[in-house]
Assembly symmetry: C2
Homo-oligomer: 332 residues x 2
DNA sequence: TCTTTACATGAAAACGATTACATTAAAATA
DNA sequence: TATTTTAATGTAATCGTTTTCATGTAAAGA
């Protein structure tokens, strides 16, 4: 039995307007009235109906989190970070994925046009034209989390895929003194994948290494894809000494391939990954990879968005690039 | 620029009532009008404001998912399952955790009293008195996902922890012919932990094995706790031949302990877990554990809840127990 | 042809909050 | 003391949708 503002007003002997003002800390209401209202409100357990409030103010303190798929560690960490910040600011988190069945655009439209959410965090591997168009005529504050900074009409956060991949490749070449490095990239319609591959290629070039075309394979970011690509690489006449997988999932595929072909890591060949997912630390030997601070990324996105929703942020859009961190394991 | 029902009504030359009826498939509106309205609605890209609708109907197609903490695979799989079903039924998923800072009860109250959500999925390791009281005077449809069926005034789904643990212990005794089995339980204020321990103990008893008190340790469901407990067990004068960890995270701790003490799994000692988390399949050797269909559990919970919210479910509350499945690995 | 019934649509209230504007009472000024 | 200013509160409109009740028109029955 939830109580409404009218009933509370009656109990307090004041009008609903005064109640509303008292609860929203309006300076025009006296200390005494405010105290009386607050006391009665807490006694009767009154909580303003958020639906009604959002409806009339045209503002919603619900954040819509749009992701390609609600699955895997990456998404969990993002949700975790977003939810944490939302909670601290009395905001709510609503999740939505495109479920492989609809486009990201549809998911966004749904949120934008229905008045439920007051802001959007959009996580996407790449911004296509449809989404770009939507964002342009979008009235809702939005923060984009992406593999690359490729849209600047709203706040954005991206992972420094390029420098991460570059530094890891450079580490293999100059610290580990290994020059025969293969790369299994992610799908090349994915910006994370593209930037990581670019980092790898440029590091090779800068160190005067010509790319062996057979050692550059396009994978799909899955364990199975990584395994297949690894087997292909390891059966070549000229075998690479290290396989740099575009993400940890594919790196795990390398481990499986090693077992399958009865090869030892790192003695027979080395493996490197990208992401530093939870499972990586339990691989034997521990995977050498790049840590991506995903949880912090989610927190940052939510923080920026909430400021924007509160209009406490200045007009210019923020574009943040978060660095990755090398995690040396025993796999190289 | 979202369009409202009034503007749409004007464009169509009918009243807002007719629009509403046409869009909600009311039988009293003629085919022709309905067609006209639908055509115009899709042309103008009209989508009813869900806030306004929920506000007036006092029904919300938003599901509140309350969990102790939004972290780890378990929660991700639940969210994944819930979101999937929500999407298919045009429902929305709102997540909320107690963030270690507030009680589950507060999270529920927040959802119940603010009118945002129309139903609740409550995931909790144990229902305390406060929550029990809340559920009793709760008007919102609720589905409880718990480690044990311990509240029957609403729909509930629980994992068959007891039989899972029993069957795994029995498997170790009668198939693997090992009788020296230790158990690292989860925290004993957690129903999952309690039921799993009970399954282990009863299986021992039924096979005529007396429990060695030193081999029964209360852990905390974390990797680190599992490691510490394992080290303790492995340093005993009389060492167990198999350590049955209350969950996979602690089982991973056993692997770490093995490396630390320079012992080999399964030759020096065996390990078993519970949950079949993602990382378990990549442990070397693969962990013997019990698969818990968490994703399906989330889907089931959402399905029941939505039926309840639509009032298409009959009065009696459902109580479902989902079985676990033995996953034999190489760790025993 | 006139009355009754059924059917399609419209007018208007309702939901619970916020807020612009009006009102009253008290304080400040002349 | 009379008038103006200010401060606190109340009145009522508003948001976008659904829904009850009223209304008008066409079909059915007498």
């Amino acid at each position: 039995m939830t109580i409404t503002i009218k009933e509370l007003a009656q109990k307090c002997g004041v009008s609903t307007a005064t109640i509303s003002r008292a609860l929203n800390d309006d300076p025009s209401v006296t200390k005494d009235t405010k105290a009386k209202v607050l006391a009665m409100a807490s006694q009767l357990n009154y909580k303003p109906n958020l639906l009604a409030r959002s409806f009339v103010t045209k503002k919603s303190n619900i954040i819509g989190l749009v992701m390609p798929d609600i699955y895997g560690e990456f998404f969990m960490e993002i949700i975790h970070g977003v939810d944490e910040v939302c909670y601290l600011n009395k905001y709510y988190t609503m999740v939505s994925s495109s479920h492989g069945k609809r486009s990201t655009a549809e998911a966004i439209i749904d949120f934008m046009s229905r008045g439920i959410v007051g802001g959007i965090i959009l996580m996407t591997p790449a911004i296509d034209d449809e989404v770009r168009k939507l964002l342009r005529l979008n009235q809702l504050p939005t923060v984009v989390i992406s593999g690359k900074r490729d849209y600047d009409k709203c706040d954005s956060i991206s992972i420094d895929n390029y420098n991460g991949a570059y530094s890891l490749t450079d580490y293999i070449i100059n610290i580990k003194k290994i020059r025969k490095i293969a790369h299994i990239s992610g799908p090349l319609n994915n910006n994370d994948a593209i930037q990581r591959q670019r980092g790898y290629l440029n590091a090779l070039e800068d160190n005067g290494i010509t790319v062996n075309k057979n050692w550059l394979i396009e994978g799909d970011f899955t364990t199975f894809g990584g395994q297949a690509a690894s087997v292909k690489l390891l059966k070549l006449k000229e075998r690479p000494e290290v396989i740099f997988a575009g993400n940890d999932m594919m790196a795990i595929g390398c481990y499986i391939a090693a077992r399958q072909l009865n090869l030892k890591i790192p003695t027979d060949f080395g493996v490197a990954g990208f992401d530093d997912i939870f499972a990586s630390q339990f691989l034997n030997p521990r995977l050498t990879t790049l840590h991506v601070p995903i949880y912090e990324l989610g927190k940052e996105a939510a923080t920026i968005l909430i400021k924007r929703m509160n209009k406490t942020e200045k007009k210019e859009f923020k574009h943040i690039t978060v660095p990755t961190e090398l995690v040396p394991g025993g796999s190289i």
